[in-house]
């Protein structure tokens, strides 16, 4: 039987090489650089293929039959949100610690993890404190962000008024393009990028070499404090539709609240999962 080949290194060569080997261990600056998987999903309580029933509002029972959200990018950042009157720019100060730049259309009625098409680039230090969801189909400053123009959010369902039992079938979409761009000298104070970026979202997650980042989106939170009785009529008789034009007379209060809920941190939750 053939013996395995033995490789020996002269001891004196090892002694001579030892300083170089030791020095080749360059020391650590702390932390790690990782490429991590990222996924998005609807509420964990949702049932795949089934409408989502939202009962948190005692005045309404909302059954969401369709909800799709286009997420253009996801970021984690070390910055604490700044309170007070001072506005912030679209890019926060401090270090961004994770970025998922590949877009994803998320079925927010499905509890299944829907992975983003590319890994996210991340560093483990400093620790993440907040997350951002960028609702854009192209460059966040560009108007239009894509051609043809497409909505960021589409929803459909039916809202039943608890007091009367009346049903309000509804549809809606939110498009964040020139319809949301402010004109005038003060435009810098409210640029389109701020309209498209949801921030700050609490995200005190610890990044690791195994597992991945999970973004759960709860569509029930899109309809917080919405009076469906104020919805304008839709195209089909007996239906209602959220306006997608902030300049239209029927935009407020319903569509305004829909956008405000979409743009708030409430529907979004970041966590670390071992299922990726």
């Amino acid at each position: 039987m053939k013996k395995p080949r033995q490789v020996r290194v002269s001891w004196w060569r090892g002694v001579l090489l030892l300083p170089l080997l030791a020095a080749s261990c360059a020391g650590s600056t702390g932390g790690q650089t990782l490429d991590i998987p990222v996924a998005a999903a609807g509420p964990a309580t949702a049932v795949a293929g089934q409408p989502l029933v939202c009962g948190a509002d005692p005045a309404w029972t909302i059954t969401v039959t369709a909800a799709s959200l286009h997420v253009g990018a996801v970021y984690l950042d070390q910055s604490q949100p700044v309170s007070g009157a001072q506005s912030t720019g679209c890019i926060l100060t401090g270090t961004y610690v994770a970025q998922e730049l590949a877009p994803l259309d998320v079925d927010v009625l499905s509890p299944a993890l829907q992975p983003f098409p590319a890994l996210a680039h991340a560093v483990t230090t400093p620790p993440a404190l907040i997350g951002e969801v960028w609702l854009t189909r192209g460059p966040v400053d560009a108007v239009p962000s894509s051609t043809p123009v497409q909505p960021i959010l589409t929803v459909a369902g039916s809202a039943t008024r608890t007091a009367t039992g009346d049903a309000y079938p509804f549809t809606g979409s939110v498009t964040l393009e020139d319809n949301y761009q402010t004109s005038g000298d003060a435009a810098g104070g409210n640029p389109i990028c701020k309209k498209r970026i949801v921030t700050p979202i609490p995200a005190a997650v610890t990044l690791a070499a195994t597992g991945g980042l999970l973004l759960r989106i709860d569509p029930c939170r899109f309809f917080t404090a919405i009076d469906f009785t104020a919805l304008p009529p839709g195209d089909a008789a007996g239906t209602y539709q959220f306006s997608d034009d902030p300049g239209a007379a029927d935009y407020a209060p319903t569509a305004s609240n829909l956008y405000a809920n979409l743009h708030s941190s409430a529907p979004y939750t970041f966590s670390w999962t071992d299922d990726l």
């Binding site: 300083p19 020095a23 360059a26 600056t29 650089t33 460059p139 000298d185 640029p191």
Partner: protein
Amino acid sequence: MSRTEKIRLTRRWRPQARRARAAVGACAVLLACGVPARAQVARARTPATADAPPDASAANSPPSAVPRLASPATGAVFPPVVLEQSQPAYPVEAMAAGPAGDVAVALTIDTAGQVMGAAIVRGAAPALDRAALQAASRWRFKPAERDGVPVPSRIQLLFHFDAPSPAQVAAARAAAPSGAGGAPAPAAPLPVATPVAAPPAEAPADAPPPPGTPRVLDVSVVGRRPPTSRGASDFQIRVDQLAAVPHANASDMLKLAPGILLTNEGGEGHAEQVFMRGFDAREGQDVEFTVGGVPINESGNLHGNGYADTHFIIPELIQGLRVVEGPFDPAQGNYAVAGSADYQLGLADRGLSLHYTTGSFGTQRVLGLFGPEGQSTHTFGGAEIYKSDGFGQNRASQRGSAMGQYEGRLASGSYRLTAQVYSTHFHSAGVIREDDYATGRIGFYDSYDLLPATRQQVTEGGDASRASIAADVETRAGNTTLTQQLFVIQRDMRLLENFTGFLLDVQEPLQSTHGQRGDMLDLNVNELTLGARGAAHLAADLRGLRQELSLGYFARSDRAAGTQQRLEAGTGVPYQTDTDLVSQLGDVGLYGDANLRPWRWLSLRGGARAEVLTYDVLNNCAQQSVAHPSTTDPPIDQSCLTQQDRGRPRLADQRASTSSMALLPRASLIVGPFRRLSFSASYGRGIRSVDPGYISQDVKTPFASATSYEAGASFAGEVAYTTLVARTVVFQTVVDQDLIFSQTAGRNVLGVGTTRTGWLGALRWTGAFFDESANLTLVKATFNDNHEAVAYVPGAVFRSDTALFAALPWHLRGLPVRVSLNGGVTYVGRRPLPYGETSDQIVTVDASAMVAWSHYELRLLSTNLLDSRYRLGEYDYPSDFRGAAQPTLVPERTFTAGAPRGLFLSLGINFGASS
């Protein structure tokens, strides 16, 4: 008539005492500036050997081909080398009268190295003269050589006799034979000759030799007082044959000292980033750079206070280099935190020489050098014109440089006048993101400035110019040496750099709506420096041992005006002012430095330096943001605001001034030599003044300080007819405020304290046909607060420079043909990068081959002979060069590419006479 060929050397040599009881014997004053390591070995040899003019093999890599041409008639010359010396004892017969003084003896040395003639040039007393002649006649030499052939030579030695003490006189009398026939008393210890700094030697008068007398080579020596060694980390580097190893520029010569790594992300006209013993000294901010004592560091430079661009130095005019790795010499001033580097200029070859180099990347270089016949090697002129398309994209450059120096003799010393002018225009490729390179979006040697998505109207690069004049004088009166230098420097620089792409131009609330316009930084500085330095050096003998004391000063005044703006990518129009400063800076240092020898084997060197730094800074853009701007007159897009919070009016500018003093003790202990081994330990504190932009009114300490410790051992001696100098050093340096590079600011910013601990080993081995320099440095650099590694500092750096040279065994038309092969190897270990990353290792090999005959020299050079594709600089920070639909905000690896293999051909012609 004998043809006199003068070899000018500028180091004071102290011969090594051979007997335990004896003091130092005779000395010959022959030393080159810079006290090269090799010269330390020359203690037992004539110093002339340590300063032997290099053979015609010196060269640098393109674009700087260093010429060292054969003299058309006489060829390369080496002076005689001492093999055995004899020290005269004080003659007994002179004890009663007790004369003292210096005796100069001229020796004629034959081709066997024997003394065939000795004559008194200048005597002191008959008995002393006889003693000196007798001792000198017993010296034995390796003969002088011309073109490798031994020739007779003439050289001067100087013997100093101290007057005997009364005790010694009494002992001598007691030892005299008595008429009573008693046993003679033991010989009393007699005073022996002690070394002194010899005055400039005068060449013996030429007289027609008798027919058949071989031509004798006169070796005439003048010297300047060399700096006192501070121990194992004091590297006095004589370039010599190693000039033939390809070196791109003057900064590259630093690699002859241990632990040096050079990178450059800014282009040919941008100063190199210097890593020295674990320090990221950036573009010289932690290293005090001088050329012949004239400062190179620029105080008030916006890119980094202490920025040091050495590209104006023509490498062929570098004769030596003194690198002190650590703040151990009281003469070291501001910026000497990691250490100091002083370039010593000189041109050994006399006559007029022209060189033309061409090769890869469209490189062309024309160099003219002139060394007047009969003048010192420190009298020279040089001019260089250079252009290159550069490798890859956006790396073209052009430069012109001229340097001249004249050294004149005084009755008791010498003076020098130096002038230089330099100008360059260059482009830079900038950095490359690793992910963009990995996906094929950009090539390894490409530039974002030319990529369609990130195209810049004004691409990276810049301009620089420098002009300076300096005058210095050194005189001696007895045991006192006085030096004085004045200098004026004018410097202008423009840098265009973009490290972050399209990241920083964030929409602010009150600005007009805009997207990312680009982060191109346009920095301009204009500086004027006036300064002076001087010292008095006193020497005295105590118990037959030389004791020295130096008192010195340094003063410089700088006026610097600097602006930094950001340029819009598509138009090149500035859209934001980051900085606008006008600074008046003062720096005055006063030091005392002693060199005490209580015993022959023990030297205590050191003293203290007091440094005063003053700042008067006018910030023309002091207010750049307000929390609650005026609602009726919002600043909109203004960079420099004329309003405070809630719209209260103010002027845009603000002045701040401060001053501070630092006391910097420095000391070295040197023990030995014992059998050619010496041991040393050193301690010192150094400072680095902070950027004027950090100055606020009356801030207490406008400088960072470092404390350094080290211990080491050195060996210097002859081994089998070769010269070997080797040393090993362990060191540690603690800095209270380190400089950390900020890619967003485009320059260093103050950070927290750091500590560097390490070891270095170095050797220089020279022989008749080879010159080898090798060094290895291992270092660990950590932050003091969390003990994490300091980014970008290499843990291991190895460098080897090798030169092989010889005269071929046949002659062509009666003249020898000389050849040389030269190589340099660099290894850089992995460097820690931010966020737990590490860089690649770097291995590069440079080589050259040279043939020289008569007036001509032909050289073939290759840089990066193995054509390694390597990342010269590696970083990890956020940047966005539009590689994705959304901005890339998370730190990512970026790098600057090292040059691919380059091949260059250089032709040189010498129209002059000799070397």
